[in-house]
């Protein structure tokens, strides 16, 4: 039995796990659910040895366990199937399954590939799938790769005497329905050989495959249930928290949009990603787009930000037909993107707050072609005050700020640039509850000022709560439109139906 006791872990300013205790019994499938940012992935990384807890202990069959690396975890029978698959696509299936364990097949420095292939075939046999072990992994479907990952985890059976625990981190998020069923059948049939921890935010799936379910929220375990004693709606309520009410998303501050259309897409498409997308955003309107991975909504936002040139249809900004060829062009037309990857794309982390705020509109602090550093600082100071950005001064590098304050700096930059259209790509990702609320408030403020906002969010609640209108996408097309005026928000189930 693998157990975690009173695990806590924090990252610069964010408490990711608070006093978390879980047990995973032998031959048991344990579900772990929670929204993005609830701490599921952090817990998984601690169980798999890739991160160490600030406090708390792990035990294996009652004996204390210290994991310093994934290899340590593997030695103790803990394997992980990653959310972003860990396979090397340029290697063959067999090479991937035994990556790092080539020693078993090596004599006099030479690898016996034939033996490795045979062994790989045996591992795949345990799952009961028929995959060519000599195929390049890149040529496999995503679902098949998942099976290879699973087979890779099962090699631990041969290399350790410990009971096997396999951690599945969101294995279904990119799988089609039929493939999910296959995966579940495999997991159930493998229960005799191993225990599983199954992480997901899809409740019905978790209930379908698990024996027991833990619910996480804001870094805490907020519930533990036998899977046959609880229903999906119940779990959902616990997962999003009873504290959830319209006030959380500042619904009272939702102002109706104005008539002027700022952005209009007609038949917009990027080949291979999305097509026939028609929608418009009015002044002060928040349009949310809901969809699963692969729905095309990510590419749509990239395309509107100028990162991904459109290949069909037309786009109008402020009534003028445009083709966005670069972010530079989008920015000049007043389209600002708050990217999902805040650390790499959102801000130049090593640059000062002031430089980041003025980067998109340096002209506003220049005179005769020369940057006026004093003016730049005073503009930045103004924003620090207005957005309540917590920072010692405007000269500190952005990497020293907390996630919430970084996000405010990004917004300050777009306001300095005078952007009238904002693309918010998962604006609250990785933020704690308080910081999220501040972002929501800012979104309301911007909307009241007439800024048109396109919103992609981690959760449906957030999308519904913040938007005036929600579009759902599936397989690259818009499948439904929902009005979401304050007090008349659509139900999640209706959206879900149009998404999957």
């Amino acid at each position: 039995m693998l157990a975690a006791q009173s695990i806590s872990k924090s990252f610069t300013g964010v408490q990711a796990l608070r006093d978390v205790s879980v047990t995973i019994g032998g031959n048991e499938v344990v579900g772990l659910i929670g929204e993005n940012g609830a701490g599921k992935s952090t817990l998984m990384r601690i169980l798999s040895g890739t991160q160490s807890p600030d406090s708390g202990t792990l035990t294996l069959d009652g004996k204390p366990l210290r994991l310093r690396s994934a290899r340590d975890a593997a030695r103790n029978g803990i394997g992980m199937v990653f959310q972003e698959q860990s396979l090397l696509l340029n290697l063959t299936v067999a090479e991937n399954i035994y990556l790092g364990q080539e020693g078993e097949f090596t004599r006099f420095g030479l690898v016996n590939w034939r033996a490795m292939r045979k062994a790989a075939l045996r591992q795949l046999g345990k799952i009961g799938v028929d995959i060519d072990v000599t195929a390049r992994t890149a040529d496999l479907s995503f679902a098949a790769r998942q099976m290879v990952e699973l087979a890779k985890a099962l090699t631990l059976e041969d290399s350790t005497n410990c009971p096997l625990t396999i951690l599945l981190d969101e294995p279904t998020s990119v799988l089609a329905r039929a493939d999910i069923d296959i995966l579940f059948t495999r997991v159930r049939s493998l229960k005799a050989r191993a225990s599983f921890v199954f992480v997901s935010h899809r409740l019905d799936e978790v209930l379908q495959v698990s024996d027991r379910v833990y619910v996480m929220k804001d870094g805490l375990i907020v519930g533990e249930y036998r899977a046959d004693k609880v229903t999906a709606p119940q779990l959902h309520e616990i997962m999003v928290g009873r504290g959830l009410h319209s006030g959380y998303y500042k619904e009272a501050q939702q102002t109706p949009p104005r008539p002027a259309v700022l952005l209009e897409a007609a038949g917009l498409g990027v080949s291979g990603a999305f097509r026939n997308v028609d929608f418009s955003i009015r002044e002060g309107e928040v349009v949310g787009i809901a969809g699963v991975v692969g729905s095309g909504r990510e590419e749509l936002t990239r395309s509107l930000g100028g990162f991904l040139p459109q290949t069909s249809g037309s786009l109008k900004i402020n009534g003028n037909a445009v083709r966005l060829a670069s972010p530079e062009q989008a920015v000049k037309l007043g389209v600002g993107t708050v990217p999902r990857e805040r650390r790499t794309e959102g801000l130049v982390m090593f640059l000062s707050i002031a430089s980041n705020i003025t980067l998109a509109n340096l002209g506003s602090v220049m005179a005769n072609g020369i940057i006026d550093h004093r003016r730049e600082r005073s503009v930045a100071k103004e924003w620090l005050k207005r957005l309540r950005i917590k920072a010692p001064n405007v000269d500190v590098a952005c990497r020293k700020l907390s996630g919430g304050n970084q996000q405010k700096v990004v917004l300050a930059r777009w306001m300095t640039a005078g952007s009238r259209i904002l693309i918010l790509d998962h604006p609250t990702r990785g933020l704690d509850v308080g910081a999220k609320e501040e972002v929501y408030e800012l979104v309301r403020e911007l909307s009241a000022q007439g800024v048109a906002i396109l919103l992609l969010s981690d959760t449906l609640e957030e999308t519904i709560g913040l938007s005036h209108q929600v579009l759902t996408m599936r397989d690259g097309e818009i499948t439904a439109r929902f009005e979401a005026a304050a007090g008349q928000k659509p139900a999640q189930v209706d959206l879900l139906r149009a998404m999957v």
């Binding site: 990217p339 982390m349 980041n356 340096l362």
Partner: protein, 324 residues
């Protein structure tokens, strides 16, 4: 190596403080050290000579600073400097002063070409400039038929503006100061300068903020190429000769000057002032070696070691997981 890393890990020694204070401190120490043995080193005459000898290296290193700040590296500067020296030496008799703009414009053109190869064809800058440097070196050899070209007595008058001394200050020093001040100003006060630092510090974020990354990079390479050619021209004037191998030993000291001065090899952090300190350190070390009796042929051994040490001490491994 570990000793160097430990130096960085000492309590109270942040890599930032090390970067800002260590180079000037090292320069003062080196000058003091030499003066201890040779008190005349501190005479105005000797120090002026040191400055004049540093000018070419500093101008080369200033150009390189722009590219390194952008997160790249320009390996073509010594070839460009040599080609410029050949062009000046060849054209002086026929074009007179007109030979100088031609030589410097050649540097500009090849700098732009390297930049276009780098951003347009997405070739890493070290490969792009290694290759363009090879092309340039070959052109210099062809143009000069593989020989050094002496600037004859008749042409020397045209190099007066470089070799003369005005109010006791060698003109080369004045030119270097001019270049340095311009470089400092461009980086601190212009849009291009700010964009350079932003691209070097975080290219994806700069792109997302609407910075024209490609144009910024090409401009950086253009400046590097132009200054390399200017350095080559000055070198030709000082030595009264142009040669396809004139600047051949200058690439390593130029890059070392940038990095020893405290500009980060990873880009985004640094300025021309630091490069001035770095270039002086390299110069003083070179002179110091002759005083201490180290064979002057060994100077690049010392500069190579200094470059490695500077990078090893200042690079922040916590932010860069994999060094390729």
């Amino acid at each position: 190596m570990t000793a160097l890393s430990q130096l960085r890990d000492l309590p109270g020694v942040s890599s930032g403080a090390l970067r800002n204070l260590a180079p000037p401190a090292l320069l003062v120490f080196l000058v003091g050290f030499i003066a201890l043995f040779v008190p005349s080193f501190l005479s105005v005459q000797t120090l002026t000579m040191v400055l004049a000898d540093t000018a070419v290296l500093f101008i080369l290193a200033t150009g390189e600073t722009f590219v390194i700040l952008l997160g790249g590296v320009d390996l073509s500067i010594q070839a460009l400097a040599s080609l410029a020296s050949v062009i000046v030496a060849q054209l002086l008799p026929s074009l007179g002063l007109g030979a100088f703009p031609v030589a410097i414009a050649t540097g500009l053109v090849f700098g732009i070409a390297s930049g276009i190869v780098h951003v347009g064809l997405r070739v890493p800058s070290f490969v792009a400039t290694l290759a363009s440097g090879g092309v340039v070196a070959g052109l210099a050899l062809l143009a000069a038929h593989g020989r050094a070209i002496t600037i004859e007595e008749s042409g020397r008058g045209y190099t007066e503006w470089i070799n003369a001394t005005t109010w006791g200050v060698p003109n080369v020093v004045a030119i270097a100061v001019l270049v340095g001040v311009a470089g400092f100003f461009i980086l601190r006060y212009t849009r291009f300068g700010r964009f350079s630092v932003a691209v070097g510090a975080g290219e994806p974020a700069a792109l997302a903020a609407g910075v024209n990354v490609n144009r910024t990079k090409i401009t950086g390479f253009a400046i590097s190429g132009t200054l390399a050619a200017l350095a080559g021209v000055i070198l030709a004037a000082r030595l009264s000769s142009g040669s396809p191998s004139l600047a051949n030993q200058l690439l390593l000291p130029a890059i070392a000057a940038v990095i020893v001065g405290g500009t980060a090899i990873t880009g985004g952090l640094g300025n021309v002032g630091r490069t001035a300190i770095g270039a002086l350190i390299i110069s003083v070390v070179r002179i110091g070696m002759t005083f201490v009796g180290v064979n002057i042929f060994a100077e690049n051994i010392v500069f190579g070691a200094m470059l490695i040490a500077a990078v090893a001490i200042t690079i922040d491994r916590s932010k860069i997981a994999i060094i390729k």
